[in-house]
Symmetry: none
Subunit: 522 residues, 2 copies
């Protein structure tokens, strides 16, 4: 099977999913995570439609990506004007990406009823938009929107749209099942017909939606028919039922269809998907293929017996292949090799059989049972390991804190106050601060109290704060998991805290954040 | 396309899913719901393995089902004994069902390593188990476990197992992808090869698992190759990543492949799936094809514009076909048509040109600029509209609240306290509560204070609480958006609050939640 290029649209199509809302910092984190994993193209937003997206491109231009091409996304020019008069195309140029993705209409129904153009006008719009962008140095990936519905309706016209795009110099043409209703056999046969019409050597992509639950299968069948570019999102986020889930499609292509991709470490899949889910603040469903917590969990007695005798008896692959782990639902077991991989940068001397590793695994299990998750909180994981190894000595000790919030606020801009007393060696320090909430006030008071002892904390600030209810049955009385991302201007790190009390959970994450700076980053 | 029989295994394979645990009453409710919907065979449990399952069969025998055949499930007899000596087979007979499902091994690896039998012994076990049950009046459906892995390993032997079952008088033979790792093309080609080997007239079924996200597609391809029985669960529950999701496969077969099934009212699908999910106490993921809340939800501006002009432009079917409904998600990229669509159920008298609509749009823009998002907060949106129209009069007024949190906590299980004073007409009420955080304490105190005036609030409780930092540059000093989901046992509704102070943001969402119950739900 061939070499497959991967386009991720989490930041564009994924952002159209219900419950998804990315901040600028989220977008940058996602782009770097995808780049590290080996994604080839990152479709990052619509500069023409959304000023926030334009801001992302300005930041991305200053950032360095090791492999991925950042792509701006937009449509063919508007009807009745020249490309250079099109405000959206000019904003797309202002995004200053080397690659752009342009979508155009391939279904006459849309040409006629939605953009109200003639079939010829639409072809002109495709041709001169691509030409315009190529003339300005852009590599243009063309998305034939609604291609499969268009082909079912009028195959000649649908083919004409992609021939036009290729003739105008598009890098590749992607066949889109925009409404997500095309069946596997129809997708395979149509993709085969496309290659018969345009020749085997053309670069054809596939972009599916999951409205009938077949996005992954449809993408695989298009690849079997000759497509060499696949589009999707992590972990299937997108409009309505979502896009092709790359967290499932990528291992399917590599492990089941023996394709090659530019993914150096497939065993990072689980961590990458988990990190992206945490950034998106969307829980991964337990039954998600490959990356769900239940994906390699065995409950039935006959299954547990079989797996104990021979793992292949009820597992289609070994979970370590993609970084997940096997669980027997009667007794939890967690993964040593993942742990060793995590420890390599700072504690490379341990092996699977080191007694220290057993201790850490025990501790991790206990914490996970309490509701901790460390996939997106590397700094807290490293501290947990250091504490268990006896390598970490706390730089300060909390004696007490008190927070108060009131309405009407005595001070409108800082309605909450925190008082804190800490101890560093034999010296205690007590101080207080006002803030915009109990956690903000506590953060300010803590750093104020520690400043006397550790002036380097002056540069540390929190850049993101996320709260997730773990057991949603009990709502505000349930356990909460707080993630805090901090920076000192050079590094950024994430810590986690869990408690039934949101202030305590925040405190635990805050404490880890400061300890990590003092102990690890110095 | 042919007539397809449906076997649901929610009560057997579904019960092996993590987080699934059915009571006897749950099982009976599920069986009757499936029967009413038109399912042909209900695989209801393993009398041999589970005494609770035997109890179910005793109750089911006294119950009347209008269409479905209740099936007991079990394996071929144990090695080295006669069927009449097999305790499990005798318990299966004791279940007194007219139909039984027997699974046997089709993969030599399992024959050799798991049940440790010779290839011939295994064929004998298949043949005489089926014969034994047929002699006692049972109709026997045979499941060829691991058929696809077995066929990949040794096609001749795998085919021999199903030929043996058919020769022994099995009603049908189902090809199982037990480990869920088979690809669509392999499933289609293998099913075609089965028909070539055993003849076109045999009754062949398909049973898939979703470990590579292809269970639905694989089942469709097997049907195209000639299978006439499909097995699955609602809504895909099962071991590991789950079984074929019948809530997706059934509409695919009927609407996309033009098969017939014994389903009199496909438009009941949404309600049936929702009811089964409630009995199972598992939330349906929003993005679930056909039945998820987002399945026909439109967020992107271009999509909303398209659907408003012509629903087929971004919907593969009309949502009413399966009983779901269209939703327009309100977001900054969308406009008046979305708003009017939202207002239709409670304020149908307005049009695009009504001056009230301009007022509401202005107000929405102002709120969105402050950081509000109403996509997931329908109840707050309706209150905003009612307030702007002058239709809403507050049921209570906040005079003051004070929250305190402290460490070490004076009361470990409820470390936070809130004091609140409210006014209803001319009466003020002051009270306090302890909680697991300031918001929990405030929620409890508010409902305690209001209980005197509005006893109906007793049934209201919060079921989810989510916090999101909006502008991540300033971290804990940034604005936060709080989403609260509430229920009164009949309805659930979501409200939103935004503030730089997390307690105030929570308060705003809490206030809307209570006002929505009092004003709209009454």
């Amino acid at each position: 099977m061939p070499h497959i290029l991967l386009l991720d649209s989490t930041l564009r199509d994924g952002a159209q999913g219900e419950d998804i809302s990315f901040s600028l910092q989220d977008k940058l984190n996602i782009a770097h995570t995808l780049d590290d994993f080996g994604i080839d193209f990152i479709e990052a937003g619509i500069p023409g439609a959304n000023p926030k997206d334009l801001l992302f491109f300005q930041h991305a231009a200053k950032s360095s990506f090791s492999h991925a091409k950042i792509c701006a996304f937009g449509s063919t020019r508007h009807k009745g004007i020249r490309p250079e008069q099109d405000e959206f195309l000019n904003l797309m140029l202002a995004a200053e990406t080397s690659h752009v993705v342009i979508f155009g209409k391939a279904w006459l129904l849309h040409v006629d009823k939605i953009i109200k153009a003639t079939p010829e006008e639409n072809l002109d719009m495709i041709a001169d938009t691509i030409q315009f962008l190529k003339d300005r140095g852009r590599t243009v990936l063309f998305d034939a929107e609604h291609f499969f519905d268009g082909y079912a309706d009028n195959p000649d016209y649908a083919l004409k749209t992609i021939q036009t795009a290729l003739a105008a110099g598009a890098h590749s043409v992607t066949l889109c099942d925009t409404n997500g209703g095309s069946t596997p056999t129809f997708v395979r046969q149509t993709t085969e017909a496309v290659f018969q019409s345009i020749g085997k050597e053309s670069a054809i992509g596939i972009h599916c939606h999951n409205d009938i639950g077949c996005a992954v299968a449809n993408s695989m069948l298009a690849v079997e028919a000759g497509a060499t570019l696949v589009q999707g999102t992590f972990s299937g986020y997108g409009e309505r039922c979502g896009n092709t889930d790359l967290s499932v499609l990528i291992p399917n292509l590599i492990l089941k269809k023996k394709c090659t991709c530019n993914i150096p470490r497939l065993q990072d899949l689980f961590n990458v998907a988990t990190k992206l889910a945490e950034i998106s603040n969307i829980a991964i469903p337990g039954t998600k293929p490959y990356i769900g917590k239940s994906a390699f969990a065995h409950k039935g007695g006959m299954h547990i017996d079989g797996v104990t005798k021979l793992t292949a008896s009820f597992e289609h692959i070994s979970p370590e292949t993609i970084g997940n782990h096997r669980r027997f639902l009667t007794s939890e077991v967690s993964g040593r090799s993942t742990l060793l991989a995590k420890m390599k940068p700072f504690a490379p001397q341990f092996t699977k059989d080191s007694p220290e590793i057993s201790l850490i695994v025990e501790k991790l299990k206990e914490m996970e049972f309490q509701g901790y998750q460390f996939e997106a909180a590397d700094a807290s994981l490293e501290l947990l390991i250091r504490r268990t190894l006896g390598w970490h000595h706390p730089h300060f000790q909390l004696i007490l804190y008190k927070t108060t919030g009131e309405y009407p606020a005595p001070n409108a801009s800082e309605p909450t106050s925190a008082m804190i007393q800490i101890k560093v060696e034999d010296t205690t320090e007590i101080t207080a601060a006002l803030g915009n909430g109990p956690v903000n006030a506590l953060d300010l008071a803590l750093r104020k109290a520690l400043h006397v002892f550790y002036p380097c904390l002056e540069d540390v600030q929190l850049i993101d704060y996320k709260v997730r209810v773990i057991d949603s049955d009990a709502a505000t009385a349930a356990k909460v998991r707080v993630l805090i991302e901090s920076t000192d201007g050079f590094h950024s790190w994430t810590t986690v805290g869990v408690s039934t009390d949101i202030i305590e959970a925040s405190w635990l994450a805050l404490q880890d954040s400061i300890e990590y700076k003092l102990d690890v980053l110095k």
